[in-house]
Amino acid sequence: MTAIEYIVGLSGLLVSALFIYGLKGMSSPVTAVKGIVTAGWGMAFVVAVCFLQAFEVPEDVLPHLPVNLGLAVLALALGGLWAGWRGRTVEMTAMPQMVALYNGMGGGSAAAVAAIALMKHDGGTPLHLGVTVTGALIGCISLTGSLIAWAKLDGRMPNPIRFSGQKVFNGIVFIVTLALGLMTVVTQVQGTPGGDLFALLFFAGALLFGICMTAPIGGADMPVVISLYNTFTGLAVGLEGYVMSNPALMIAGMVVGAAGTLLTLLMAKAMNRSLSNVLFSNFGATSAQAAA
């Protein structure tokens, strides 16, 4: 290992500890503010240290490095400033849909990481590719699902979309997407030309399934659904952390995955509903009427 690899690795270790400490703080009203500030400093630190990697890229990347660095800074500035400005200015009642929006962005980012890993074609093991594709699937579902949840809570999509045979339709979309994912892995392992088409269709299918899964759920159930997609993004990040051999991503992602699962179940329980009831029976409209 080189010195930079050591620094980046140790910064990941430090940030994992800060995240867990911060999350622990956030689970009590007294220490909650300190918790998020701790996690925030950790994040700023690890993003800054990440730029050290630019000093030791492989030979074939060197000519592209200035452009890559420029794009990275531009993307960080644009994404960060826009989200920070929106988060500050939006009214307090609109917070839940902003959480959904930002969560969807995280899912999309994990899917993008998976997409680049697939585009590299550096012939990973079937297991490695399988994890990549699974992370991409979960990330894509989280992206479009969160966007639909955001649209519903923001009043842009007032009525749930329901039609007869919807569950069968959704099931077919899911199975086709899984099959495409499997084909993506197989073509990547064998190096078949034209395998990229399967990957492209797989991403389209996963994005479509996120929409199909969320569209029939009523607006009153959205907090539980957002928490579920938060869990999904966490899991996707954890899996892509394995793909990128970055333990910090694995730990942060899986901690969020586990905490999010528990949180989702707690929130469903607070509504006197089971999670499968929220997801698969279209009671959202009924409970919204009952609450009104």
Partner: protein, 110 residues
């Protein structure tokens, strides 16, 4: 970064992290459910580090475009998650501690 991490070690890390997440969140008061969801939303924003690493190693335009999108979305996740959590938790802040901050929060909230 580890270069020779086996799948089994990855499973160990996942198992320990999952338990950590479970233990940290269990017995949390229900008023903190939404801020915690937002806080964990911020924490998985660390995916931006993965996206940055991927973008740094991009060698063609397509990879650069996808990498740019990944970093853009990840940065939005990080900043948005932090700001929203901070604003939610400002409601738990003792009002004497930072009166200026509380005042601006109230102004934007109303």
């Amino acid at each position: 970064m580890l270069t020779s991490m086996t799948f089994i070690i990855a499973l160990y890390i996942f198992m320990l992290a999952a338990f950590t997440g479970y233990v940290v969140i269990s017995r949390v008061p229900s008023i903190l459910h939404t801020p915690l969801m937002s806080g964990s939303n911020f924490i998985h924003g660390i995916v931006v580090v993965g996206a940055l690493t991927a973008l740094f190693s991009a060698t063609n335009v397509m990879e650069q475009v996808v990498g740019f999108l990944g970093v853009l979305l990840g940065a939005g996740n990080v900043m948005g998650g932090y700001v929203v959590t901070d604003r939610m938790l400002a409601m738990f802040r003792p009002s004497t501690k930072k009166p200026a901050q509380a005042a601006t929060d109230k102004k934007t909230a109303s």
